[in-house]
């Protein structure tokens, strides 16, 4: 599963945060690069703030995304594409045509859930060109005390795509690490809980490719 696309149909769902932290986690096991295909350039900005030269490399997307992925895969085992917050964006449709896995973070909020309904259609359309495309929803920013968080797993099943067993909780460490240009893996004990859940998600993602 060398190409992973972080896609979504709504801003603020956590695509960039997940891209960067997922890449940092995978980098512990293998070589990985991130391509920032979102014109907002948040992943590139995160990398620019990083003082650690060994942190995950982030590349600016060029016009030929598939060729760029092929080129990067000569040097890296995995390439993560951080896509814009729309399934209709040309970058998203293009990336889905050659990705192995589409990861779709979704928050337990009605607006996020409504916006994510359209993803299944986009994945189906992409499968006309890319039969092997797999997709997985990741429940993100879960707050166990809220009713919506408790109900989100049931609601998300309406979308018609597989859902990762691991849900990521809402944690301040994701924001504070970004401020320092770091991933939660660089935050020591403060990032331990976030690291644990990300490691579980990474395991699921890697196994998802071998099912």
């Amino acid at each position: 599963m060398p190409v992973i696309a972080l896609v979504g149909n709504k801003g603020g769902a956590g695509k960039t945060t997940l891209s960067v932290n997922l890449a940092a986690g995978l980098a512990k096991q293998t070589s990985i690069a991130v391509v920032d295909a979102d014109p907002q350039g948040s992943a590139l900005q995160w990398r620019a703030f990083s003082e650690n030269e060994n942190s995950t490399p982030v590349y600016e997307a060029n016009e030929h995304l598939e060729a760029q992925a092929r080129e990067l895969l000569q040097d890296y085992q995995y390439v993560v594409f951080d896509c814009p917050p729309s399934v209709h964006a040309p970058q998203t449709t293009s990336v889905l045509k050659f990705s192995d896995l589409a990861l779709i973070p979704v928050q337990p909020s009605p607006m996020d859930l409504w916006a994510t309904i359209h993803i299944e259609e986009a994945v189906s359309q992409a499968r006309e060109f890319n039969e092997s495309l797999r997709a997985m929803l990741v429940i993100n920013q879960l707050e166990m005390r809220t009713t919506l968080s408790r109900l989100v797993r049931e609601a998300v099943s309406e979308i018609g795509l597989p859902v990762a067993d691991t849900a990521l909780r809402r944690r301040a460490i994701y924001r504070s690490s970004a401020l320092e240009g770091k991933s939660v893996f660089d935050m020591g004990r403060r990032g331990a809980d976030a690291v644990s859940e990300l490691e579980l998600l990474i395991e699921e993602i890697v196994n998802h490719g071998h099912e």
Partner: protein, 80 residues
Amino acid sequence: MATNDKTRQKLVDTMRRTKVGASKKATPKTKAQPKQEASKPAPAAKPKPAVQKKQQARPAITSSPVSGDAYQSTRRVWPD
């Protein structure tokens, strides 16, 4: 529990309605085109009377009170 059930029902219901809305949007655009063509003459005809009414209404308001009563017009000349 009852609140949870209501929220669950509402959430699932709104998602299903959104899904139906999404699939309706994806249905052929050709159906909408004849409707637009058929309705074109109607909006074109409507604005004209609306403009005329406004033009008629304005003189009706301005012409009546000013010249009618000398006392009232004096009050308007001498504000505080």
